[in-house]
């Protein structure tokens, strides 16, 4: 399959509205000058060949880091497909996932919050999408955590994704949310996405347990990257 060769500007309502009140870094890190719009050319429409040789892939089980070791929390399986804007599968994409543990604490030296670490949960993994664009991770449902600062708000349970697809312009960094969590509509980051349908697309779908089995709760989440084919294939 040919990689995407057409990159339209972002559709209205999908890009978060910034800065975000109560999130100080969106004020101090955001350029004051407007971004310079340029056409998408070869240097942006290309990307590295066989990136999985540079970034080893395959650690898809965050919940069971070794024999007899199981992370604390609700065991879940997150799976879906990496797609482009034409809904074509994106094979060979590097998909990185990271998240907090069940207590809402990250395994990271910068996270010094007074919540327990889990010796059986590091909370990061990297896989390669297959020929049909499929990816999947076994993990645990992360906990919510408070955001330091004068504005009182909590991040709802969420999972970070970083996707490296066929072009620089298809690079995606986003977060996945869980359906029905009461913190979702209070989250300043999720709610910074203006369009309600775009926010809904960041919420995973619970897969009926009859389709998954007893071991794990299943969530479906497609990772749709920017880019499409300039000349669509004839039907």
């Amino acid at each position: 399959m040919q990689p995407p060769d057409r990159f339209d500007p972002w559709p209205e309502g999908i890009e978060p509205a910034v800065p975000i009140p109560g999130y100080a870094n969106t004020f101090t890190h955001l350029p004051s000058q407007p971004l310079i719009r340029r056409p998408a050319t070869r240097t942006e429409a290309t990307g590295p060949f066989r990136l999985d040789r540079k970034l080893p892939c395959g650690d898809d089980n965050l919940a069971v880091p070794g024999p007899g070791r199981i992370a604390l929390g609700q065991l879940i399986h997150i799976a879906g497909r990496v797609l482009d804007e034409d809904a074509r599968p994106v094979p060979g994409a590097v998909v990185e996932l990271w998240q907090a543990n069940a207590a809402g604490r990250y395994f990271h030296p910068i996270d010094t919050r007074d919540a327990p670490l889990d010796a059986n949960f590091i909370g990061s993994g990297r896989v390669l999408s297959d020929a049909e664009g499929r990816y999947g991770f076994f993990t645990i449902r992360p906990g919510a955590y408070p955001v330091p600062g004068p504005a009182t708000w909590w991040r709802p349970p969420h999972v970070h994704f970083s996707v490296l697809g066929p072009a620089s312009l298809s690079r995606l960094v986003t977060q996945m949310y869980f359906p029905g969590d009461p913190l979702n509509p209070l989250d300043r980051i999720l709610m910074s996405v203006p369009d309600a349908a775009a926010r809904e697309r960041l919420v995973a779908r619970l897969v009926p347990p009859a389709e998954v089995g007893l071991g794990w709760l299943g969530y479906a989440f497609d990772l749709v990257l920017r880019g499409r084919a300039a000349t669509p294939a004839m039907p």
Binding site: P11, T46, R50, W98
Partner: protein, 199 residues
């Protein structure tokens, strides 16, 4: 069928350290343990990421992407991709340290023709950090090529007073090869900020 792309979010403050390993910042190596390509001039690129008031951006992620020394990308979108250097990846990533500093090693990129234009040698940089709800994308050029820079169609889109901020500065030698400095100022007003692009 059409699917809208997912919204972008910040990378947050907790991007895993295990996702950035030694040599990930060497664009000339195709993989872990692979030797760097020798088809070009070895260079080092050093810089700092700073925000408002010049404070360091800690734990920011910087990714680099460039053509090989002959100006070719090993990607189907480049008509000459079959001739691209197979030992050169052209991509790397680095995390900033407590001082906001990062470093890349690579080969000096080549310029190339595209349509009616000639692209000057350049390296694309993408910055992701807590508070950036979308990655910031910029492009650095080299002082070696004033004539090519003057004709570059992307550099021409930048306000003239800000163009010098997209030029890497020579900074002596590192490990026997030329070293360049390119600092990224995310927020600092019209006279200090790095120009960033969107498509």
């Amino acid at each position: 069928m059409s699917r809208p792309p997912l919204s972008q979010h910040t990378i947050g403050p907790f991007f895993p350290r295990s996702f950035v390993r030694p040599d990930d910042n060497d664009l000339a190596r195709i993989g872990a343990g692979a030797p760097p390509s020798t088809r070009g001039e070895r260079i080092t690129l050093r810089g700092r990421v700073t925000r408002e008031a010049g404070a360091a951006c800690v734990n920011a992620l910087v990714e680099a992407w460039q053509a090989d020394a002959a100006g070719r990308f090993r990607h189907p979108a480049d008509p000459a991709h079959a001739l691209a250097d197979p030992d050169f990846l052209g991509w790397g990533r680095a995390a900033t340290d407590a001082d906001g500093a990062f470093e890349f090693r690579s080969l000096m990129p080549g310029g190339y023709a595209e349509g009616n234009h000639h692209r000057a040698p350049h390296i694309n940089l993408t910055v992701m950090a807590s508070g950036l709800m979308r990655p910031l994308v910029t492009c650095l050029f080299f002082p070696d090529h004033p004539a090519e820079n003057a004709g570059d169609p992307v550099l021409a889109l930048v306000p003239p007073a800000a163009r010098a901020r997209l030029l890497a500065r020579p900074e002596g030698l590192a490990d026997g090869s030329r070293c360049f400095r390119f600092d990224l100022r995310l927020r600092g007003g019209a006279t200090e900020e790095t120009p960033f692009f969107c498509e």
